[in-house]
């Protein structure tokens, strides 16, 4: 692994530059990124269908099944970082031209699975959202209490995600232990605190901007799906194909795009905060020196 020869130019970037590069990266590495993302997201997509699929059924749905769409948005939003675990592990490897065999990516993620479950299912509220959604009775009653609870929970998750957006990257790529060992050393919590705290206000601003861009982009894609559904299937209204297939797929597509954005933003934060690009150059030079000395 040559640390100064990376697949992406390592340098400081602005938010908009990161978004642009992510878009292009999605094109260049679309197939492996898509495959690793589907590997993580497929199980969640099926679970979501099992949890709320009934809401989209005609007998419960209004003309436009807003309740189904709202629940689906919440579920995809909270599950996205966990679903992106395989994709993040892949990105962590591909940037440094390391081998990206599926077995290695699987073992990268499965080795930290407990940490991920603790970090996201317990601390970031995925488990709570699942329980709330499970508690909804299969009737036309919109269950306003649950809707309100979900709304506040989503705000809370948004706050956590915006202030500490790179928890998944810290867990998967820095591989610190969850609890401090006897010999000391950095834990996930301490590492995350060290990375995020000095930039918390900027990260929250970026989170809000990202949410706005994500919403606009998602609306544009859903509108395009509606257009495609109208042109190819003759279904211009919110039909079952659009609601149950195209819209959730668009949401997962956005989650995949933002997985790439998050990874590049994580690199950018480390570059700005820790002089990471310099560290890579210096370490690469140290490796060369060592090779020369051995040779």
């Amino acid at each position: 692994m040559q640390l100064d020869k990376t697949r992406i130019a390592i340098r400081q970037r602005g938010v908009l530059d990161i978004l642009d590069v992510s878009l292009h990266m999605l094109w260049i590495y679309g197939r492996p990124i898509g495959a690793t993302f589907i590997l993580g997201a497929a199980a969640f997509a099926l679970l979501n269908h099992a949890l709320i699929g009934w809401m989209a059924d005609v007998e419960y749905a209004e003309e436009t099944p807003w309740r189904y769409l709202w629940y689906m948005s919440v579920l995809v939003y909270v599950e996205a970082p966990l679903a992106a675990a395989f994709c993040t592990a892949y990105l962590g490897r591909v940037v440094f031209e390391q081998s990206c065999r599926s077995g290695e990516i699987m073992s990268d993620v499965l080795g930290m699975w407990g940490h991920l479950l603790w970090g996201f299912v317990v601390l970031r509220g995925i488990g709570l959202v699942w329980l709330l959604v499970l508690s909804v009775e299969h009737t036309e009653d919109p269950a306003y209490g649950v809707l309100a609870l979900l709304f506040f929970l989503m705000l809370l998750v948004f706050g956590l995600r915006a202030s500490r957006p790179y928890l998944g990257e810290v867990i998967l790529l820095e591989r610190n232990p969850l609890l401090r060992s006897r010999s000391g050393g950095m834990t996930i919590g301490a590492r995350s605190q060290m990375l995020h705290n000095p930039n918390s206000s900027e990260l929250i601003g970026r989170g809000l901007g990202g949410a706005l861009i994500c919403t606009l982009f998602l609306l544009a894609i859903v509108a395009t799906c509606s257009f495609v559904s109208g042109v190819f299937f003759g279904a211009w209204d919110f039909g079952p194909i659009l609601v149950q297939i195209f819209i959730p797929a668009s949401m997962w597509g956005m989650a995949m795009f933002f997985c790439v954005v998050r990874y590049l933003s994580y690199l950018d934060l480390r570059i700005r905060q820790e002089g990471w690009e310099v560290e890579l150059l210096v370490r690469a030079e140290a490796n060369r020196l060592q090779t020369r000395n051995i040779g």
Binding site: G14, V278, L281
Partner: protein, 288 residues
């Protein structure tokens, strides 16, 4: 693994004179604020013209004023970008504010035809258009742009060209003050110059090492002492051994001295040789 060029938003453009320039190209997200600014300016411009028309032609009849305002709207909608990009050498007011400029793919300024055509073809990039009905307005007119086609086309090419750019042979670049001469970084700690004298004269600094040293010294003032030491150690430790210097020499100081020796050799040679007794370069105290 397939041989894929390093992913970046910087591209090299070779001019017809065979001179190569590096440009940072602007993708859809970097162009969006400029586009929104131009949209707002166009709307304000139209509003003022509309008020002016109402005040001047309004008394002749509302039909005449409406007709004139439709013509003005048509002209602004289709030619705002083209006229400004021709007049302001590849920039609209929004692009100027956001530091963007349109160039041809070989780095030369665009001409009027290219400016007008790339703006007219924006309609193709804004596809698919949505009907006003999605906003609950019962008029089946397709005028709401989604720009999904344009974004998709930009994503698949390295120059982030939309359809209008591809047809006209243009691209949008970010104007950066790239002509800055940063010169040699200043290292205030005199011990670095003293330590440089102990580096063996036959030690050759490779191009990659010189680059690493320059990057390190350029960034070190933004880093904490601990972080400097952490970054410098992997390279400094084997070098200390190689130069047979005391192992407790500051890694940061060693890299600084190597930098001075590489880039400011004359100054190092001319550095004062007289040292105070308590001013030893072989100390782990970090330089400032």
């Amino acid at each position: 693994m397939p041989d894929i060029p390093q992913l970046d938003s910087t591209i090299s453009v070779v001019t017809p004179e065979n001179i190569s320039f590096d440009y940072r190209v602007a993708g859809p997200f970097q162009r969006l604020p400029a586009y929104l600014l131009d949209l707002m300016l166009a709307a304000v411009l139209f509003l003022f013209i509309q008020i002016g028309l109402s005040l001047t032609l309004g008394w002749l009849g509302s039909g005449l004023a409406t007709g004139a305002s439709l013509i003005i709207w048509f002209a602004i909608f289709w030619f705002y970008g083209g006229i400004f990009e021709t007049w302001m050498n590849g920039q609209t007011p929004g692009k100027r504010l956001m530091g963007l400029r349109v160039l041809t793919v070989d780095g030369t300024p665009i001409n009027g035809m290219q400016a007008v055509m790339r703006n007219v073809l924006r309609l193709a990039d804004s596809m698919p258009l949505l009907s006003l009905e999605v906003l609950q307005i019962p008029v089946p007119v397709y005028v709401i742009p989604t720009f999904v086609l344009g974004v998709a086309v930009m994503a698949v090419n390295r120059r982030y060209q939309r359809l209008g750019d591809i047809v006209c042979g243009t691209l949008v670049v970010v104007e950066e003050p790239s002509w800055r001469l940063s010169g040699v970084a200043k290292i205030d700690d005199s011990r670095a110059a003293q330590l440089a004298e102990f580096i063996p004269p036959n030690f050759r600094v490779s191009r990659t090492l010189a680059r690493a040293l320059a990057s390190y010294v350029d960034r070190r003032r933004f880093l904490s002492r601990e972080r400097r030491s952490e970054i410098a150690s992997p390279l400094a430790d084997p070098l200390l051994q190689q130069f047979q210097l005391p192992p407790d020499t500051s890694p940061d100081l060693l890299l600084c001295s190597l930098y001075l020796k590489t880039f400011v050799s004359n100054r190092v040679e001319g550095a004062p040789r007289k040292r105070a007794a308590n001013d030893s370069p072989f100390t782990n105290a970090e330089s400032v």
